[in-house]
Amino acid sequence: MSNALFLLGCPESPVQTAIALYLANGLKRDNIDVTVAGTKAAIALLKVSDPEGNYVRKTVDLDSCIENLAEKKVDFDLCFVFVRNDAGISYLSTLSSISDAKLFAIVFGRDADALASMIDFECEKIVYKTGHNPVPLKKRIDRVMKWDA
């Protein structure tokens, strides 16, 4: 079984939790084990939305996750970084440096296009300028993950 890491950013935009749960469901269907790293609030939003762990069973504190990756104690096959601000780009770049995972950037929010243009390293970009409606981003994920066939 392969595995994937989601690295959540600031949970201010409602799109993030919806897309994280949608993506976790799709990966689970593809037999990919998902671990989610994020701030306390971002993880709490997921757990309240998925109380029985139907989509996300494994969560980890963001700082611990970075520490374990940097020290090569853990790595993943796939990594999805949620980017809606400059800090998200910093985390994405860091993952690119400290992990060998195939990297996906899920870029959203009002600055999505400007943020995406800052990504100049190898990475699959999934970009849509939305803060509230997750459907356009979901469609792009379906295309990239080949779930729309």
């Binding site: 959540l8 950013g9 600031c10 201010e12 994020g38 701030t39 971002a42 963001l62 700082d63 970075i66 520490e67 990756l69 940097a70 601000n85 400059d86 800090a87 998200g88 780009i89 910093s90 985390y91 770049s93 860091t94 690119s96 440096s97 400290i98 800052m118």
Partner: protein, 92 residues
């Protein structure tokens, strides 16, 4: 900020971007070291876009510190030990 929060630090820039921090360090400090993301300082692993610029000013190190919801802060903390590691090119 983990253990950094327990230390005596000065915030030089707050809620800023990694790019502004890099430019500020390049413009304001003569002794500058470039490190990769994941470089360990004060028991935290630095987050950022490579190369991450760290300034040295007297006995102080000046470095970016990123939090997901608040952006990047440029902090100044006194540490001869960290300066020694930077000068030796040690990768902790």
């Amino acid at each position: 900020m983990g253990c950094i929060e327990q230390m005596k630090y000065e915030v030089l820039l707050k809620n800023t971007s990694f790019k502004e921090c890099r430019e500020y360090v390049a413009k304001n400090f003569k002794e500058v070291y470039k490190v990769k993301p994941g470089y360990k300082m004060f028991d935290v692993y630095l987050i950022g876009v490579p190369p991450i610029s760290i300034g040295v000013d007297g006995d102080d190190v000046i470095f970016p510190y990123t939090k997901p919801c608040y952006g990047t802060f440029l902090l100044r903390i006194r540490s001869e030990e960290e300066i020694e590691s930077l000068r030796k090119g040690e990768v902790p």
